[in-house]
């Protein structure tokens, strides 16, 4: 008697091999059989006309905090994600002394944009060491977690305030090595570091004060355990990124470790960026180094409101001069008819239709509900105004607190990005799940992979796309019992409709502690998700199953 049989689906096993019609049987949380399975089960999932694949793995998230009250990392699980990697970009919630919590909360708020209540009311902060954090999240996991430990918090533990002031001494580096060993022994999948991130005061995070010898010493410890190094290089400059690729390659070769870096973007204004990065990555892989560039599937959207200065209007000097001032001054200027008339005129003879008409009113702020999700062109037509005038008036009517979205302005050319994602040395990831909550949705990149690059663009086969975010990801991260539908491996399984799997439109919801807002996207086309053999999501609803584990 099996526990579960997923019956009659198109099995895409995560290896990249051709799909076949068959069944997947589950017993004791493991895959027991794949193929034509006879016998009975306590629970049968009918999968005719559906794909049966390994659960997706999201290798770049910031769910560290959310996992403490939401073991499903919603909405990650409903998108078919059965394993997340938190702790990226040098920041994790352990090891962390009680006295240092506020400092790290500030860093997390800078990245995650979570409301303060998330850190004060949503969980009991009972741990200091990594094992304690692990125990805290393990109480209620609905999906699996492979947590990184952050270089910045290791540095903070050892050096205190000096971690954001100076290089480490040899004794401090040795102490960091010992602490990293302790974290890896407690279940960390690797170490994350950053050369880019800042805290809430704009100061570089502690990892940025490390000299190369410090990172080298920590990678020696990663080598002892065979674990990962994740890195955020100076992605704003191609030459520096390439220099970091070379450094990561040296560390990979010296200590036999796997490294990954992100983000990697393709933009029309820097078309040479990805080709140059990939050329160097190919060279380093040819030497035997493992330096995996992580690339996100979704395009980059921009948003702005008149409440804060933005570069968005830097192409319109008069708008730029007005809107970069303090809000009270902006309000005063926008109430001056002569100023507004000149601004509207500067937006073009069409009243800004071409420049601004595509903007979408976002919601989640003071925007009237009836405006949310609509284009400025539509709103302006309804009001009988030009787009520029409607943008100004709508902002004025709501205390400037109306955000607008300009979609797909970067990393958006699917004809270029599709082949990049399909490149065998590109690691699909970098979703940032759980971060930038108040700025944009970081969920549904896996659905977008299938809708945009498999169905629409045909840049990769169904089997290739599944392998990219399951088997290949598990291999890169050393998750030995995940990522494939093979007997003996963990029964993380997603059943989905290949014709409809996608992400839905971005919407603001208020489900963060303290009724905090975040932007999310619901999933389309996901039928059932099993985590370690238990149904965690089915028929559009989460179950009570808490079968997730720290899977390192």
């Amino acid at each position: 008697m099996f526990d579960v049989i997923v019956r009659g689906g198109l099995v895409v096993d995560g290896s990249g091999a051709p799909a076949f019609n068959g069944d997947v049987a589950v017993k004791d949380g493991k895959i027991a059989a794949v193929g034509q399975v006879s016998g009975e089960a306590r629970h049968v999932v009918e999968a005719q006309g559906r794909v049966v694949a390994p659960g997706f793995i999201d290798p770049h998230t910031h769910f560290d905090v959310q996992l403490l009250w939401d073991g499903a990392a919603r909405p990650a699980l409903e998108h078919g994600v059965t394993c997340v990697v938190p702790g990226n970009c040098s920041l994790s919630l352990a090891p962390l002394r009680a006295g240092d919590r506020q400092q790290v909360v500030g860093m997390f708020q800078q990245i995650e944009e979570m409301p303060p209540e998330a850190f004060t009311t949503a969980f009991e902060w009972s741990w200091e060491d990594f094992a304690g954090y692990r125990a805290a999240i393990e109480k209620g996991l609905s999906l699996n977690v492979a947590p990184l430990v952050g270089h910045s918090v290791i540095r903070l533990w050892v050096m205190g305030p000096a971690s954001q002031q100076r290089a480490a001494t040899p004794d401090e580096i040795k102490a960091m090595q010992d602490l990293l060993r302790e974290c890896l022994a407690a279940g960390a999948v690797g170490l994350s570091t950053s050369f880019v991130d800042t805290d809430e005061n704009g100061r570089p995070v502690p990892s940025r004060f490390a000299q190369f010898g410090e990172l080298d010493a920590l990678c020696a410890v990663l080598g002892e355990f065979g674990r990962m190094l994740q890195c955020v290089p100076e992605f704003y400059a191609t030459d520096i990124t390439i220099a970091r690729i070379d450094q990561l390659a040296e560390l990979s070769l010296k200590y036999g470790i796997t490294t990954t870096f992100s983000p990697v973007f393709d933009n029309a204004s820097t078309p040479e960026n990805v080709p140059r990065i990939m050329a160097r990555v190919e060279e380093q892989f040819a030497r035997g180094a493992k330096v995996w560039p992580q690339m996100q599937t979704r395009p980059l959207d921009l948003s702005f409101s008149f409440l804060r200065p933005s570069l968005y209007f830097a192409r319109l000097p008069r708008w730029s001069r007005v809107l970069r001032q303090e809000p009270e001054v902006v309000l005063h200027a926008l109430n001056d008819a002569e100023t507004v008339a000149k601004m509207v005129a500067d937006a073009g003879p069409d009243g800004g239709d071409k420049l601004l008409g595509r903007l979408i009113c976002r919601g989640g702020d003071a925007a009237p509900a009836a405006m949310v999700g609509r284009t400025l062109r539509d709103i302006a037509a309804e009001r009988g105004q030009s787009c520029a005038q409607a943008l100004i008036d709508l902002s004025l009517e709501n205390g400037l607190d109306v955000a607008f979205l300009d979609e797909s302005l970067g990393h958006e050319n699917s004809e270029r990005i599709g082949p990049m994602l399909a490149h065998p040395l590109v690691h699909i990831g970098a979703s940032d799940g759980g971060a930038h909550l108040a700025s944009f949705s970081t969920y549904g990149d896996t659905g977008y992979l299938f809708s945009e690059f498999v169905r629409k663009g045909g840049h990769m086969s169904l089997e290739q796309a599944v392998a990219k975010i399951t088997g290949e990801t598990a291999d890169i991260w050393g998750l030995k019992d995940r990522g494939r539908l093979q007997p003996g491996l963990a029964a993380d399984i997603v059943v989905f409709d290949a014709d409809t799997i996608d992400r839905e439109a971005e919407l603001p919801i208020f489900d963060m502690p303290g009724d905090g807002m975040r932007y999310t996207r619901a999933a389309t086309g996901i039928d059932t998700v099993l985590v370690n053999g238990q149904v965690a999501y089915a028929g559009g609803a989460y179950t009570d199953a808490k079968a997730g584990v720290v899977c390192v």
Partner: protein
């Protein structure tokens, strides 16, 4: 302040989509040896550069010294 002949200058400026959902400023620097390369500035740095240059629009950045990028940082 005019740029010195022996230092990089800004020869192009454009707006790009930022990783964090903000608008960022891409400036292309031409070095004294003739080589050119792009640098993407986050929104705060980009706004500061425009202020440092007294620029109302992107065109006002052209010909400015790279030093203006780091002034006041």
């Amino acid at each position: 302040m005019s740029p010195r002949a022996d230092e990089p200058i800004i020869v192009a400026a454009d707006l790009v989509a930022g990783h964090d959902g903000t608008t960022e400023l891409l400036v292309r620097l031409r070095h004294p040896n003739g080589a050119e390369g792009p640098v993407v500035l986050d929104e705060e740095t980009g706004l500061r550069l425009m202020k440092n240059c007294g620029a109302a629009g992107l065109g006002d950045l052209l010909g400015q010294s790279w030093r203006r990028i780091v002034e006041g940082s």
